[in-house]
């Protein structure tokens, strides 16, 4: 058994180098990468950049398929039910593999039992920013102001990591900033830029252009450490110790996918994330590259679910 396994791995590696190709080795036809969000969003962007290079590493094209809907649940569900042969894989996120399973009353899939982790690709920080007309410059000033007068924050939607970043903020700071959900990050940003709503929790990539131009004042990033691209913006954790949220993107295959196939996919993903072009794009995108092993991703999913469970419960978010 082990010899065939090694042989397959070797064949996979040979194919990856473009040296040989037999019907037995994975992959012998294009792989479909399901992106559970609409084209143009941040997950789509990460997915397409990675798919291109991963395809090159695998020696087979990776076809991107956007299956948006229900906050990522539809696409995740589709991959959960797909044949466990490695030809259908998912670009999972904090939403599909931690938040939705906690929030949804009807569970369309099990984030642990239905999937075989491949690799945690990137971590994407979120940011707390305000319209410059709001007279606060630090997280502490915001907390003080919020305790004196009613404020509201915009997010990309109900049950999104950004909504919950705000919920976690409220619960840790003892504030009651009202949540205003939007249909995506774009409309939320518009209203904050126009000062219709003073505060926003957003993905750092989508807000970074506005922060750099001064149209938004960033009060803090949600990661434990400061973001390399914005060394002057403190981490919220510097004011509220222990505060940490971020979005992430990771590859999953359906549960039951043979280990050698997972290994081949992981190898290709890790190779793709080391590609200089991908590194440069991810840096522009303020995303930090992880490129983990399958086991690390499995542990990460468990840790994320444990972290968000109390926040979701406290914020009383639930979707049917």
């Amino acid at each position: 058994m082990t010899t065939t396994l090694t042989r397959r791995l070797l064949l996979g590696a040979a194919l990856a180098l473009g040296l040989a190709g037999t019907a037995a080795a994975f992959p012998d036809r294009p792989v479909t990468l399901v992106i559970p969000f609409a084209a143009g969003g941040s997950t789509d962007v990460v997915g397409r950049i990675v798919a291109d290079k991963m395809g090159a590493a695998l020696g087979q094209q990776i076809v991107v398929q956007n299956v948006g809907g229900a906050g990522g649940s539809l696409g995740a569900q589709q991959v959960a039910k797909a044949d466990p042969d490695g030809y259908t894989i998912l670009m999972g996120t904090v939403a599909t593999h931690a938040l939705n399973p906690l929030i949804l009353k009807q569970k369309p899939y099990d984030p642990v039992a239905d999937f075989a982790p491949v690799s945690l690709l990137v971590l994407v920080p979120n940011v707390l920013a305000v319209n410059p007309q709001l007279p606060v410059n630090t997280v502490q000033e915001l907390i003080d102001l919020a305790k004196k007068e009613p404020l509201a924050y915009a997010s990309s939607g109900n049950g999104t990591p950004l909504h919950l970043s705000g919920a976690l903020f409220n619960s840790m700071a003892g504030t009651e900033i009202t949540h205003i959900p939007y249909k995506g990050s774009g409309p939320a940003l518009t209203d904050v830029l126009g000062n219709q709503v003073p505060i926003i929790f957003d993905n750092l990539p989508s807000a970074s252009g506005h922060i750099a131009s001064g149209k938004l004042r960033a009060l803090g990033v949600t990661t434990k450490e400061r973001a390399p691209r914005f060394p002057d913006v403190p981490a919220i954790a510097e004011t509220l110790p222990g505060y940490e949220t971020y979005s992430w993107n990771a590859l999953f295959a359906p549960a039951g996918t043979p280990p050698e196939v997972i290994a081949a996919l992981n190898k290709a993903a890790v190779a793709a994330m080391a590609d200089p072009a991908v590194v440069a794009r991810m840096k522009d995108f303020s995303a930090s590259i992880v490129a983990s092993t399958p086991e690390e991703l499995g542990a990460h999913v468990a840790a994320e679910m444990a972290k968000w469970e109390p926040v979701v419960r406290e914020a009383n978010v639930s979707l049917d």
């Binding site: 084209a39 940003l189 518009t190």
Partner: protein, 502 residues
């Protein structure tokens, strides 16, 4: 003379041989895919976007923009020829354009649409170049209260879309609003009217609705009696408008351009209203409002210009703020990020080549479209001589592919069948589909902004009156309401014994 310098730089970027070529390819591909029935601009861009990733950022966005105009133009062509709109804007074109086609004036309708679009595109491109930053500042003054009032104005105007009973048109708007609610409530996450089907959690697909109530209903109508009825007049007259028709289209084109340019700037869904608003205005000021719905030239010229102007000016929030005004623009943002451009206010200053290059290419793209499509009109019109029983199986195949390709959601295809049946039933009961469609696109925006405005004002409904822009729009809505109903009341008094209620 900054502007001239900038424009000159833009044109030098856009008119490099490679960029001209990509613009041309984009326009051609967009037209060819967009002209397939049931495949609108969003589906076309989603299909073609990956092709552009391999290119340089400027070339990639120029080609994508070309695909966008091309697809929009192609969509109008299908709306006119076979009553199959793939976008909310071309749904309005379908109302009178298709009637013109049935009267043998398909060529005129198509060339009016092309010329009107080109004119509108030219004017609004210059508007983008001249006023993008100040216009953005105005757009940002629109908050939830303003959008709510704007949507109310849109709803009031919708009544004028109907050419039959006003009462039934109102009922169709309300039915459309209810259908628009299907999906997840964004404030609480509660699913509404989804029957427990997760696939409808994001609402019903617009293309499925439009293809169903317009296109499939029309196919069924034509299949009612195949023996003694020809769908199209065989004697197709001239392809190009007469001098008189030219004169007739000037007013609508100018007004449509104005309306579309203004509404397109608003990132919160203003462009949706552009073609509907233009249609309403044209019908209201026309000396022959009874011709609307039966093939009025102004009913094609106005909305098509408004639509194209709105499409151009919706680039303003995209380019100056990095904010998408519609799903197509969201795709463009994705394309920018993939190309390593961080969208935001800095694009103008940090990437002037890109910014002005795209603006210049907008105009070039529009020029190419008109040059390409005027000769193609003859070809499109010839398609109508294909026997209908050959045409409609092709239509069904294409719209199945088109609807499925938007989100790979098979439930959207079931919705097509359902809405086909609904549309046919509506046509048998003489209820019109256009007000339904408007209600469908406005419904979610109306509710979303109403509830958001109420949360932001902490439950104070006077917010709609104390915010000046909102107040002005509401007064306008009231004025339209009076204009629509006053003649009717007067008419009712005069002709108590007639049965007309239109």
């Amino acid at each position: 003379m900054d502007l001239l310098n900038n424009l000159a730089m833009g044109f030098s970027v856009a008119s490099s041989l490679a960029n001209l070529l990509f613009c041309l390819i984009g326009v051609i591909l967009g037209t060819l895919i967009g002209v397939l029935p049931g495949i609108g601009a969003t589906a076309t861009i989603a299909m073609l976007m990956p092709i552009t990733f391999q290119l340089e950022p400027v070339s990639s966005l120029i080609m994508l923009a070309g695909i966008y105009y091309g697809a929009q133009y192609g969509g109008s062509t299908t709306a006119i020829l076979i009553n199959m709109p793939g976008e909310s804007s071309s749904a309005v074109t379908a109302i009178d354009g298709y009637q013109m086609a049935r009267k043998g004036k398909a060529g005129t309708a198509l060339s009016v649409a092309a010329l009107g679009s080109f004119f509108a595109g030219t004017v609004s491109t210059f508007l983008v170049a001249l006023f993008a930053p100040p216009l953005t500042a105005v757009a940002l003054k629109f908050g939830a209260a303003e959008y709510f009032s704007l949507m109310v104005l849109g709803l009031v105007m919708s009544v004028a879309l109907a050419h039959g009973s006003v009462l039934k048109a109102l009922a169709m708007v309300v039915l459309g609003l209810l259908l628009g609610i299907v999906g997840t409530d964004i404030y609480t996450g509660t699913p509404r009217f989804t029957m427990g089907i997760t696939e409808y959690a994001d609402g019903l697909n617009f293309v499925a609705l439009a293809v169903g109530v317009f296109g499939i209903a029309e196919i069924l109508r034509n299949l009612e009696d195949e023996s003694d009825r020809e769908v199209m007049t065989k004697n197709i007259n001239r392809l190009f408008p007469t001098r008189e028709e030219f004169r007739e289209m000037i007013g609508p084109v100018l007004r449509g351009t104005g309306i579309g340019s203004v509404l397109g700037i608003l990132p919160g869904g203003g462009a949706i209203l552009a073609s509907f608003a233009s249609y309403t205005v044209e019908k209201k000021i026309s000396k022959h409002p009874e011709e609307f719905g039966k093939g009025a030239l102004a009913g094609v010229a106005g909305p098509e210009s408004a639509n194209n102007a709105g499409a151009q000016t919706s680039f303003i929030p995209l380019l100056t703020l990095g904010i998408p005004a519609n799903p197509v623009m969201a795709l463009m943002i994705g394309a920018m990020i993939i190309q390593g451009i961080v969208p935001g206010p800095n694009v103008v200053s940090e990437q002037p080549q890109l910014f002005w290059g795209i603006i210049a290419s907008m105009w070039i793209g529009n020029l190419m479209l008109v040059v390409l499509n005027l000769p193609l009109i003859g070809l499109w019109v010839k398609l109508l001589s294909v026997p209908y029983y050959v045409l409609f199986p092709i239509i069904m195949a294409m719209c199945s592919i088109g609807v499925y390709s938007v989100a790979s959601n098979t439930f959207d295809l079931y919705a097509v069948a359902f809405f086909g049946l609904l549309g046919y039933l509506m046509s048998k009961l003489r209820c019109e589909p256009a007000p339904l469609l408007l209600g469908f696109v406005l419904g979610p925006l109306l509710e979303e902004n109403l509830r958001r405005a109420m949360i932001l004002s902490r439950g104070d409904p006077s917010t709609f009156l104390t915010r000046p822009i909102s107040l002005v729009i509401l007064v306008m809505a009231l004025a339209v309401l009076v204009l629509v109903f006053l003649p009717q009341i007067r008419k009712r008094r005069d002709e108590v014994f007639t049965e007309s209620d239109a």
